[in-house]
Symmetry: C3
Amino acid sequence: MFLQSLSIETISFWLAIVATIAFAVTAVLAIADHGVDIFGVVVLGVITAIGGGTIRDLILGVPVFWAKDLIFAQVAVFSSLLAFAGRSFFTQPQIFSLLLYLDGLGAALFGMQGAMKTWTLNFGLPLAPILLGVLTAIGGGLLRDVLAGRKTLLMTSEIYAIPVVIGCSVMMVCLQLFPSLDTEALIGCTVLTFLLRTAAIYWHLRVPEWLMTKSRHT
Amino acid sequence: MFLQSLSIETISFWLAIVATIAFAVTAVLAIADHGVDIFGVVVLGVITAIGGGTIRDLILGVPVFWAKDLIFAQVAVFSSLLAFAGRSFFTQPQIFSLLLYLDGLGAALFGMQGAMKTWTLNFGLPLAPILLGVLTAIGGGLLRDVLAGRKTLLMTSEIYAIPVVIGCSVMMVCLQLFPSLDTEALIGCTVLTFLLRTAAIYWHLRVPEWLMTKSRHT
Amino acid sequence: MFLQSLSIETISFWLAIVATIAFAVTAVLAIADHGVDIFGVVVLGVITAIGGGTIRDLILGVPVFWAKDLIFAQVAVFSSLLAFAGRSFFTQPQIFSLLLYLDGLGAALFGMQGAMKTWTLNFGLPLAPILLGVLTAIGGGLLRDVLAGRKTLLMTSEIYAIPVVIGCSVMMVCLQLFPSLDTEALIGCTVLTFLLRTAAIYWHLRVPEWLMTKSRHT
């Protein structure tokens, strides 16, 4: 009942707002140990928050999402400024640990939303929704790391994007089998992705050696 | 009288040509101390000169500006070759200092032009013109630095983009209040941005410590 | 006779499949000495294989090629996984040497195909086909190197992209003079580009000192 009374658009909108805030704040903290000024902070925060979705929309050939709903760009700018002002608060170990989970929630939300948008547009099914879901989730962070001269997450053994790949893949299977349950698939797979990422953070899980090109101990 | 006899399109066109030359030449000099061949020089010069505007046009969803006016790409290629050939001349301290101001003029021109184009297209007002103005001004330089393995300007305390932010913001206020004075706003804010950048170069101004994530002395 | 019985679309399609495999496999090997997990391997392999063509299509304002022909993205994913699984085989000196030539073939194929697509769309003639041909050939590799934290080929004196510039330029001259011989121009210039790259690999040719910004020995 509850799920049916909320349109998928409404749910997607609010999830995206939460994810935008999470991404902008964690982006600022990720670069806070470098000497960055307030301009760089806002640029990197905004790029992290809306960069992945922007590249996705360019590839989909649709107007970028933040031109229609300017609120996303505004939230990204404001969250970055907030994170800058409150960085001594946010970098406390316990708060930072909380933000790590929040960032994982953001990746899950953005990833599933990107995959759903691609599926709704009937674009390159079934592979493209997975590729563009992952791009939405990690694209902004990759841009941030490259611009900040940091090692990108592709070059680590952190389990960050693999939950998104699993979540998007499961969602595609669900949507192929039960196309009418799109809202349930979106929510269920977002939860699944977030739980997988949470487990990875909590138990310090790493990609096993045999799935890496080189042992990390040599 | 004078300002009214020139269309805003004509002024924008010629300012963009000057900015294209300035960006291509300073880009080549910025990477000249690395061992780059003539191919790399032209690629990095062209990307610096037309990269920011290209990304802006993709986000705006309009044809890239240099496809219609091929002159911009031609000028970028030619200026890069010229800067390569004359690099021993351009790298003399006094000439290089002059180029630093010229580069600041380019950033002012590109920034205001990008903001004006976004405003003219009625795209995501009033925030998007500022974001895309800044992107037009610094996007090409960011691409260049990333491709050349240099530290991007986001990670410095140089006052380079902040004048563009101020110029674009002032222009948006002017255009909201006096929409008919678009040519005057474009020229006035370009001059304002350039003067701010000039002051930053001349007096070696830096972003104050309290606007940075970390003291630059620790 | 033979050339006339095959449409230019059919030839382009199969050449692009070969190039996609070559790019994905060599991309994986290029980053194999870093500790990358299977997710990073696939992402970097896919980006290398389809990244250049994707940026080209965005600039051309046409749907990205792999949305219509999903086979390209599928081949890129599969080739990356294959290269990961067989990396101990592929990194043998003789096999790796073979792959270097295969990668040169990929660059020639992608470059000429990108230039031809731009010419067919009558986009920014005659300069844009050369710029976008080069972008198609090296764009994916540049993205890979930037994301992997490697030095991009722009900062080396390797003769990799210059053959593509020559091939695209010769093709533009041919197409201006003999527009009806497009299939022949495509094949001839692909062979020319590949031969130039082959010569550069075989004889360890480097860009001569006077075409570099700085001597590589100082």
